[in-house]
């Protein structure tokens, strides 16, 4: 199908984008467009105006400062995939990146777009939750920072207001004790996950502490499995699988029972990654 008629405007500054969102209440921001344009083509959405933010300076780039890695919202997936800083300091994102779409999609898609879109089966929102990251947004009242746990509110629903622009995500840089794990099951490499898991932990002697398991594709948002986290921290993988308190629904890819079973399968794989010494 073809998109319905819409107008198009290139925003030259963040302030202009925020102002345009205020003037046009059914406008949408166009970043990488890899989800938005698909929904326009399918007429699942029909905004009156697209505000193209790709030309706004200073919204891309990856920087490591003071124990934190800041990734500009317009950073393309392909940029992050090739980034030395991300490979070194945010290894969970580096592991997740090759699973996001395909090469042609990663050349256009942005990290900020993926987070703001909040697809429940997408990799990056789960990584943000697993790493306890933060999101920076700018709206009519200025800039503010939102913790990952407060950002994802529901199915495709975030803490962003109608006039907010997501400007950056911030993630804690890995230390020598940081352990991460990532796995997802898909029908075809690059597709949205049937079920996926992004995880982080801190090595504590021979065991793990601060285990954070963020499952995706099993609920309205990426979901922490807190009972399984506690079991894994005590070193018992079988108990962690048994403690998985997920309640997925059937979807077009798999039944709830299959998803629940597969969540246990990938938890075992990720537990192995978490327990490996960091290279």
């Amino acid at each position: 199908m073809k998109p319905a008629l819409f107008a198009y405007k290139r925003a030259r500054s963040l302030a202009e984008a925020v102002a345009l969102l205020g003037e046009h209440t059914d406008a949408r921001l166009l970043a990488g467009g890899q989800s938005l344009i698909a929904t326009l083509n399918m007429r699942l959405s029909a905004p009156s105006l697209l505000i193209d933010i790709n030309g706004i300076g200073g919204l891309d780039g990856i920087a490591h400062k003071g124990g934190t890695v800041e990734i500009g919202a317009l950073t393309r997936h392909a940029q992050a995939e090739r980034s030395e800083i991300i490979a070194r300091h945010v290894p969970l994102i580096a592991r997740a990146m090759p699973h996001i779409g395909h090469a042609a999609i990663r050349n256009r898609g942005t990290l900020g777009g993926s987070i703001a879109f909040a697809d429940p089966a997408a990799e990056l929102p789960a990584c943000l939750v697993a790493l306890d990251g933060e999101v920076d947004a700018t709206g009519p009242e200025g800039a503010r920072t939102i913790k990952a746990q407060d950002f994802f509110k529901g199915l495709f629903e975030t803490a962003l207001g109608p006039q907010d622009v997501l400007t950056a995500i911030r993630l804690p840089a890995a230390t020598a004790e940081t352990r991460v794990g990532f796995a997802e099951l898909v029908r075809r490499h690059g597709d949205y996950a049937i079920v996926g898991l992004a995880a982080s932990a801190r090595a504590d002697g021979k065991g793990l502490a601060d285990v954070r398991l963020a499952f995706f594709g099993v609920g309205a948002t990426a979901l922490r499995a807190k009972k399984a986290e506690a079991a894994l921290a005590s070193g018992n993988v079988d108990a962690a699988v048994a403690a998985l308190d997920l309640d997925p629904h059937d979807d077009v890819q798999a039944t709830a029972a299959v998803k629940k079973h597969l969540a246990g399968v990938i938890l075992r794989r990720v537990a192995k990654q978490l327990l490996e010494a960091r290279p």
Binding site: A7, Y8, A103
Partner: protein
Amino acid sequence: MIDFALDISLTVNGEPVRERVEARKTLVDFLREDLCLTGSHVGCEHGVCGACTVRVNGEIVRGCLMLAVQCDGAKIETIEGLSDSGEVADLQTAFEQRNALQCGYCTPGMIAAAQDLLKRGGVPSRDEIREHLSGNYCRCTGYHAIVDAVESVAQARAGGKA
């Protein structure tokens, strides 16, 4: 000013192009309908099939997931340009010799995606080839002959350089 149509100027296969396009027109529809470059194909129109793969500023993209108005100032290369320049001649020959196509609908996108991998140099593994082509659907032949063709070209190019 907020517009439903905009003037864009860009380079397509080395030729300067100036057109007025509707904001809602995707890049692949612009190439096919306004410029009559019908080698890029429209399959799923939501980024899944890869038949519309073209190069924008040297990088492959989905022609259905980019708007023509976003290409103001860009350098676009389609299968017509890649073919005329001879850049993918060996891939085209290998696809033909190894029967890596039947109906040919996916082939322009396959060739563009394969060339994107091979221009990085080296000989990728079959797994790497499969992963790089994972965004391109073929609904006729299956992928074995396609992977064979891409692998043989990678080996031939590496051999030619040595």
